[in-house]
Structures are given as C-alpha cells and as structure tokens.
C-alpha cells in the first residue's frame, strides 16, 4: 500500500473520502437498526448522503454578534481530526512500517478534536442554549477522557508499545480478563465520545433543541454531520485496533472479514445501547465516568501487572 502520495492518503484513502463514505454507510446502518428496533421500515440507503448534500445547497446563517471566523472554522478542525485519525489507523492495517512510535498518543488527541470543535463552535455562536450545550460537551469530555486513556493504557502496559503496529502484532487484548474489562470501559466511553444516548446531554433535543449545533445551518452543519458520521465509523475501528487485534488485510479473506465483523459488532452494540437507554444528566455522567468507569479501568491496568 505504498502507491498513493501522503496528501492523497489523507484526502482520499484511507483518510477523508474513505472515512466519509464509510461513515455515511455506518450512519445509515445506525438509522436502519433504530428503525427496526421501533418496528419501522427505515430510511433508504442513500439517506445520510442526501442529508449532507441537501445541507450543501442551504443558506449559511452566521448569528449576529457571534465570532464569525471561529464559527465557520470550528467544524473544519473536527473534520480534519477525524480524517487524520482514520488515516493513521488504516495505514497501520495496510502497510508495515508506516506508523511511528507514539502514534497511539497522537490518535488519542486526534479523536478528541471533533469534540473540541463542537465546544468551540457552540461558544462562537453566541446562543445561550449553544453555550449550555458546549459547556456540557466540555464536562463530558473531561469525564470520559480519563477512563478512556486508562483503558488504552491497560493495553499499552501489557504490550509495552506505544506504536499501533506493535499493539496489532501482539495477541488481541480482549482475549484476557484485563483486556475485556478495558474494552467494556472503552465501549462506554465511545458512547459518550459519539454523544449518543445515554450520554447525549450536550445535544438534548428536548430541552436544548439541538444544543451545541443549534445555530449551525447549511455547509458548516453538513461538515459537523459528516464528522459525526466519520467518528461513528472511526471510533469502533480504533477500538478494534487497540483491543481486538485490528483488521488483518494482508493474510487472506477470512481474517479481513473477521476484522470487519468485529467493527460491525461494536457499531450494532452502540446502536442498541442508544436505543434502549434513557438519557442521564450531565452530573450523573461525570460521576459515572470518574467513579465506576475509572475504577474499572484502573483494575484492568492492575490486572495487567499481575499477569492476567
């Protein structure tokens, strides 16, 4: 997989374009499974695509008194973060020797960029409901990052590697007790990272009417929607890479299919959680992530040191 120049890798495959297409398909799966849970037929396959294209032709409203440049630039920062994260993860699957030492840390930072973009965008829009959404997003970010990093640390501690490729080369973490606990914590953190129910307080349709996104319209909203879709695909892929041995593309059809199935499994689990759980308040979410979730992640890291 050394044929594409780096810019094209970031913009087309496995970066922006690939992650966007895969993300839109994933968000169709999300809406379809949701529809089936509610005994509906659900939207057509191209629905998420139509939604984004439609927003592209709509007018862009910038709220009076808002920070115009930041308001318009914030979505792009999130998009860049999601695209770069996807590039780094898939490069590790595709080509040996493409990563660098510490790329796991870089990934952890890149995967928080979409959330930071939402916070910046909401504060730039000068809307009380948006700032409320933004402040909730910030609290949520502070809450889930701690257990999430600790869960990843459990894997890093066992393999002794900060390079995604070396983690992929080691036996999958989720085959040991420590890895399973860490994976469960990470799945719950993923739910919050994607701001899906039960951790969707920043958007809260019913009381904040869209929350952080309330003032966004037209192309900037399309970029936010696209970023969300990309994260819905990239986050499960990241978890499969760190905990599940990744998607092995070099050694035949069966391991590759198994890897994709792991991603699909995580996505469906996420969707089912979001369809069957009620929304928790932001203080309950923070208490949950700093309490039981952090404790579980610490236990997982501790188990690694006793060899489990």
């Amino acid at each position: 997989m050394e044929m594409l120049p780096l810019t094209l890798q970031v913009l087309v495959f496995p970066g922006l374009l690939f992650a966007a297409a895969a993300g839109l398909v994933t968000s169709w799966v999300d809406r379809m499974v949701t529809a089936r849970v509610q005994m509906r037929v659900g939207p057509p396959f191209l629905q998420p695509f139509y939604d984004v294209v439609k927003l592209m032709i709509k007018e862009t409203c910038v709220p009076a008194g808002g920070a115009r440049a930041l308001f318009l630039a914030a979505p792009l920062a999130g998009l860049a973060g999601a695209a770069l994260a996807s590039t780094i993860i898939w490069r590790a699957f595709l080509a040996r020797g493409s990563g660098f030492s510490g790329d796991v840390i870089v990934l952890l930072y890149l995967l928080t960029l979409p959330a930071l973009a939402v916070i910046l965008g909401s504060f730039a829009s000068r809307n009380p409901l948006a700032s409320l959404g933004g402040s909730r997003e910030m609290k949520l970010l502070l809450a889930y990052e701690l257990p999430f990093v600790l869960a990843v640390l459990a894997v890093v501690a066992r393999t002794g590697a900060l390079r995604l490729e070396e983690i992929l080369a080691a036996p999958a973490a989720a085959t040991r007790p420590s890895g399973i606990i860490a994976l469960v914590v990470a799945v719950l953190c993923m739910q919050a990272k994607l701001t899906l129910v039960p951790f969707d307080a920043p958007e809260a349709e019913t009381e904040l009417s869209g929350g952080a996104y309330i003032e966004y319209s037209g192309p900037p909203l399309a970029v936010f929607k696209l970023t969300r879709a990309m994260m819905l695909f990239t986050m499960p892929v990241f978890l499969v890479a760190v905990f599940g041995g990744g998607i092995r593309l070099g050694d035949g059809v069966l391991p590759a299919v198994a890897g994709v199935l792991k991603v699909v499994g995580l996505v469906v689990a996420t969707i089912l959680i979001r369809n069957t759980a009620p929304r928790v308040r932001i203080d309950q979410a923070v208490r949950f992530f700093w309490g039981p979730a952090t404790l579980a992640a610490l236990v997982a890291t501790g188990l690694v040191f006793v060899g489990l």
Binding site: M39, K58, E59, E205, G210, I214
Partner: protein, 140 residues
Amino acid sequence: MSFAVRALTRSLNVFHLGGSACNNCDIEILDALTPRYDVERFGLTLVGSVRHADLILLSGVFNTKAAIRARRIYEQAPKPVVVVAIGACACTGDIFRKSYNWDGPVDRYIPVDAYVAGCPPKPEAMLEAVVTLVKKLRGA
C-alpha cells in the same frame, strides 16, 4: 430534476411551530411523526432548531405578540424553506377569528406554500400536503 432539488426533497427536516393551538393540531402532527407512519422512509425528520429546518409547520391562532415572533423565526430559517399551515386555525382563524387578539391568518405575515384544512387535520392529510409540495418542487 436537478440533483440539488432531488436531495432537498429527499431530506426535509421538519420544524414545528405551535402558536397557541388548542393542542389538537400539535398532537396530530406528533401522530404523523410516530413509527406508524414512519415518515423517515421519505427522509422527513423532526428537528429542534429552526436553523436546521427545511419544512416549517405552523399550527394554531397566532395572536398579535406571537405573530411577530413567528415572522422572526421564519426569517431565521436558512433558505430554501417551505411552510405548511396546519389546521383551520392557522389557515383561517377557525372558531377564534372573532377573538380580540387574533392577528389574522398566518399567510398575512409568512409566505405559506400549502394549507391543510381540518380541525384537526388527520396525519394522512398532512402527509398528502407534503407529497403535493414535493411533487411541485420536483416539477412533476
């Protein structure tokens, strides 16, 4: 039909603005959005912010104060946007037309694209209005 029109008519985000309706129209609107009718099949979804709206549903008798706000909310919607007046109240004032604070039918201050008569109209009638609008937009 251009691709832009196709995408727009395939993905209408619905924003519901109730102007002191008696609540029956609002309930019927919510009925139209339940899994029974499954409007997501046609790309219709309910949104909470008018900035995300492509289709604004107006219901109820807008009084002199609410009418100003309704007009402002219409102006806040990113264009292109279509407006549907739901129920006899929004269309004509219905039984409240003699009321001292009624500000006239909504099409006096907001351009309305479709009227759905009835007190309250059935969800089927609202869906028919949307289908008619979509056909008109597509030029069929």
